[in-house]
Symmetry: C2
């Protein structure tokens, strides 16, 4: 085994690795994460790097063209050093500039909903109190001093007073509190501030601290949205309810695969794989915590509670719980409703005795993030029949009102997050997010996130692209290229046609940015899955589209989506655009609500228990709906009366 | 600071200590604990050692006679090395051969009750089931396998099945169990053995393990009696209820003082003092655990639960809880009812996730050991009016039946444990335990524990001694020596008379074993305190002695006591000897019952809540009773119609 030095450009970072390590893992470990949807299996072609100097030992990679090979491109996941190296990471390969949705008002104002003027941005119409019995709270207690006539023990006096004040019967105490209790009570003259930490429904409330009143220190809660692609966290002042800042970043598990299934497989097939995934997500969250605490100038131990909302697989991986059966019929997770654990045990860098709660989920593919989303919309408390859609790597949907809730999840695939496409990319700087194709496919206008040269195309750009390719006659309703198209942008590529969106001269990556017929059909399959999911739910409850009074769109993808175009390609149902509303990162919002309000926590539990999960793989409805939806906008044009026609 | 080598005889152990360390602490740390009632303050004179070679720097010690000084005797606690040393530990100084009462039948048969034939040995007449919902138990569950129609999560299925089987609503789970749950359930074919660990009333039940059925491993519980002087522990097979062995040893805290008050003072006055005391008791218990597990050939992690019964101060010190206010009016402890803690947190060397429970107490001086004792007697469930007496360093008494319970505690002082007397010693080999003085004080017959040469006199021997000194005319009813006694055993010692029980020739320690007038009066004060306590309780409830239908005597002291002589000196009330019964180590028995039976645990909680504590220092009753009881047998002879007269 030999060790080599590898210099990484443009960061000019020097790392050392053995001839048995691949570049992808070594670079990720060194803090230079690359895009790698397939989890390092050599199939997605995203982790391409350029070998500027030295020799590597690479497996053959079908995803690198001969011309690229000549320029020194290799897949990092398939390459091990055979000498000292200089390696360049091209723009677009590196992961890290991803825009994470934090649910902040300012950010959400950027959404295209505003521009469109037909749709609008909404923050959910839930009516939970802003601050009402936060998960960690302090109450003032004046405790009667012991006398010879009433010499009851300190802990007995404290619990009696706490029960009298709060009505809470099930009180436990941390040993540390008990150890110092006698002196603290007497030093305080029996006028104390008592910290109550709620664990979960079953485990009751813990007396987590006793201090002389008034207590000087502030105390914070952490809301976390553990997404498959991105992770967002927000600090909340638990006394005032005010935000102490929010931060987001990509989920470092991405290097092990883009979607939950490939991560579950990684956990199963590699010894220590589950631990690697757990470590990756913990590092992700812990770095956010460090940034947030640093930004606010508080200690991490001042964060005394956390509420996490994540999909079921992410929650399992976060806690190191075996996720294997999530992906196997009948899709049974280890736990939907995970008992609270202490931060120290979970490995979360907040106060080690802080309780970390998890918003309960309903099923393997309807997790706590969806419960949190439904909570944030307020739909479970309203008469209005509401559809909630969260399209990320998976598409999850909930339909219902204060009487019933039905849900389903469809494997939309990672298309809308840029996965599975050669030039697909996440919504980060350089991504084409907005496309207009005219003149029979000859003219392309686009804009990129950040305004720079295009590096690839993200989900919202893809929707526009398909809509306009159809409208301009380049493709037919089934997504096939028309036999004869005059556009110079349509060309043959090995195995089928493709359309060039940006020429190498204008693109930032040095090569043309194109979309192939196979990729267009892949996008149609993704949109068909979402649409068929919505239709299946409606069929289940015997209601027409018109019954839907409001649609909430959640998640990072939903933020940039052009509702009109999404209807045009048949991704979203053709109902008035005014009914659509964007709710931002509803998972983070739900976690935040749960931190601050007991009614919200109770509601979350009720929601998770109330949602009926419709397993789409059981029965034929979904498959029939799916097949009918594989066209632009649909086989049945009557379902899309307002969709743009050609 | 210089370091010296010190060789300890007869163990021939070599230790190194600096010229700033005293011999007592250094030897205790090296595993050679010495007797030291006063906690190393230089007043009890018990830690005498002989300097065979070398020089020490010693403070003056009034407790060492000039002759002894000539022989090289010094107090270890007052001596620091000034050169390398050879030190001999005389028999009687070393702590370690103490007989600890384990509550075992065989041992209790040794008691004098049997010989006496007037009293009898009884094991309590409680009727709790032998094995009924032990604190840690395993149940078999056949869990329905998930299907597409019923895909509920594993944890949900498990809790549903557990609730169905047990009716327990509040279930938590250890994260470790959850992590492996999916695979375990499937490997087991959904036929599993589920371990339920009861925490305490408030904290509910934890699912602590899931294994394929049948589970191969046995699981044990630990009952611990944390006494001030001695500590006893018993292993119990939680499935069958069979004992896995019992062990006892002295409490290593003894080096910091004989009674709870001196230990509390040590904790208060020395930085790190509380931690020292906690470490000492933990080491004591952990060594017992090691011995017990080793003896049974099981791993310490096979011990999955513990129930501790201790007096309030001991329980505080065991957990490192500030005990300061136990000794200050109004005598308020930090907690009477201590929530269960996990062994890892408590520092107990059993399974780290095992729950350690504490039998609840009533007040600072009526602790969990007394609740456990009352539990073991069964008196709280019987009509019979019963008096329960536990005389150790403190005297604790409970009077009552299934309708009411009243208790009090009197500072009997450590006389009955051999403390506070020059030749007093605990009930260990070489202690005079049985005395007969005849021929006007000239003839003394005695027997020692172990049958060897006498080293000192223990509590039961002292009672005999006082009774016979009175009977033979050496002392009067007030404990004063008669002005002219013909016995050669009565002599003047600096400051008063003394009576020689054993001459240096026959004694094992090389000097005469005697008892002084001051010491006799000290014993009378001790016996008066116990008697006055009993009288005060009776007065409180307005009942005469005759109303007492049964007396249970508990504890190590009670085991060797001669009831007849105890009545003769006025320590115990003059009621028929047949009413007295010996119950052994009732604290350990109560802890054992609690390990094995839920009814017993519920009863313990009820008992602790039901006992009315009579604070003897409030009001005049006790003081008046005490003063009247300072005579042999009492001022009022009518109270002792059957007591031996002279």
């Amino acid at each position: 085994m030999a060790d080599y030095h590898v210099r990484i450009l443009p960061d000019n970072k020097l790392i050392t690795l053995s001839d048995e390590q691949n570049l992808l893992k070594a670079m990720t470990a060194a803090g230079i994460p690359l895009q790698a949807s397939c989890g390092g299996r050599g199939t997605c072609g995203q982790c391409r790097v350029i070998i500027k100097e030295g020799q590597v030992c690479s497996s053959e990679a079908g995803t690198i063209s001969q011309e690229e090979q000549r320029l020194g491109y290799v897949l990092a996941c398939q390459s091990r050093p055979a000498s000292d190296l200089v390696v360049e990471v091209p723009a677009g390969t590196k992961l890290g500039e991803h825009r994470v949705l934090l649910g902040e008002e300012q950010e959400a104002r950027d959404a295209r909903y505003g521009e469109d003027a037909e749709a609008f941005v909404l923050y959910g119409d839930n009516s939970y109190p802003a601050v009402e019995l936060p998960v960690y709270r302090k109450i003032r207690l004046k405790i009667p001093q012991p006398t010879l006539d009433d010499p009851a023990d300190d802990w007995g006096r404290l619990t009696r007073a706490t029960r009298g004040e709060t009505g809470i019967e099930r009180l436990s105490v941390s040993l540390n509190v008990l150890r110092d209790l006698p002196r603290v009570l007497r030093d305080a003259g029996w006028d104390v501030s008592v910290a109550l930490a709620e664990k979960d429904t079953w485990q009751g409330v813990e007396i987590a601290g006793v201090e002389p009143f008034p207590s000087g220190r502030k105390y914070y809660g952490l809301a976390v949205d553990i997404g498959t692609t991105t992770v967002a966290a927000e600090l909340v002042d638990l006394e005032t309810g005010r935000t102490g800042g929010a931060r987001g970043s990509f989920n470092r598990q991405s290097v092990y695969g883009d979607d939950v299934i490939s991560r579950i497989i990684h956990a199963e097939e590699n010894p220590g794989g589950l631990e690697e995934l757990q470590k990756a997500i913990l590092e992700t969250v812990n770095d956010l915590i460090k940034d947030l605490a640093g930004g606010l100038g508080i200690g991490q131990a001042d964060i005394r509670a956390a509420v996490c909302a994540g999909n079921t697989a992410m929650t399992h991986l976060f806690l190191g719980i075996d996720p294997a059966y999530i992906r196997l019929e009948p899709y049974t997770p280890a736990a939907n409703n995970i008992p609270a654990v202490q931060a120290g045990q979970a490995g979360l860098h907040i106060h080690p005795q802080a309780w970390v709660r998890f918003i309960p989920g309903t099923a393997s593919y309807i997790g706590g993030d969806i419960t949190a989303g439904v909570l944030a919309t307020g739909m479970s408390e309203a008469d209005t029949l509401t559809l909630f859609i969260d399209i990320g790597t998976n598409g999850e949907m909930v339909l219902g009102n204060n009487e019933w809730l039905i849900s389903c999840a469809c494997s939309a695939g990672p298309a809308f997050e840029g996965g599975g496409l050669r030039y697909g990319m996440r919504a980060m700087d350089g991504a084409i997010e907005n496309v207009r194709i005219t003149a029979g496919g000859s003219t392309v206008q686009y804009s990129t996130i950040g305004g720079g040269a295009p590096l690839g195309i993200c989900g919202t750009g893809l929707i526009d692209c398909v809509a306009w390719l159809y409208r301009s006659g380049v493709i037919d309703r089934g997504g096939s290229f028309a036999p004869h198209t005059p556009s110079p942008r349509v060309r043959d590529a090995g195995g089928g046609k493709e359309f060039v969106l940006a020429w190498s001269g204008e693109a930032g990556g040095g090569s043309d940015i194109s979309i192939s017929e196979a990729e267009i059909k892949y996008i149609l399959r993704s949109k068909a899955a979402v649409y068929a999911g919505i239709r299946s739910m409606l069929q289940m409850v015997g209601l027409p589209f018109e019954a839907i009074e409001r649609v909430f769109i959640a998640g990072g993808f939903g933020r940039y989506i052009n509702i009109r175009e999404a209807i045009n390609i048949g991704l979203l149902p053709d109902i008035p655009v005014q009914k659509y509303a964007y709710i931002g990162n509803s998972s983070l919002k739900g976690a935040r609500l749960s931190l601050l309000s007991k009614s919200a926590r109770d509601a979350a539990e009720k929601i998770a228990g109330k949602i009926t999960y419709l397993e789409l793989s059981a029965g034929n409805t979904f498959m029939e709906e799916f097949v009918s939806a594989l066209f632009i906008p649909h086989t049945d044009l009557e379902l899309f009366p307002t969709a743009a026609r050609r």
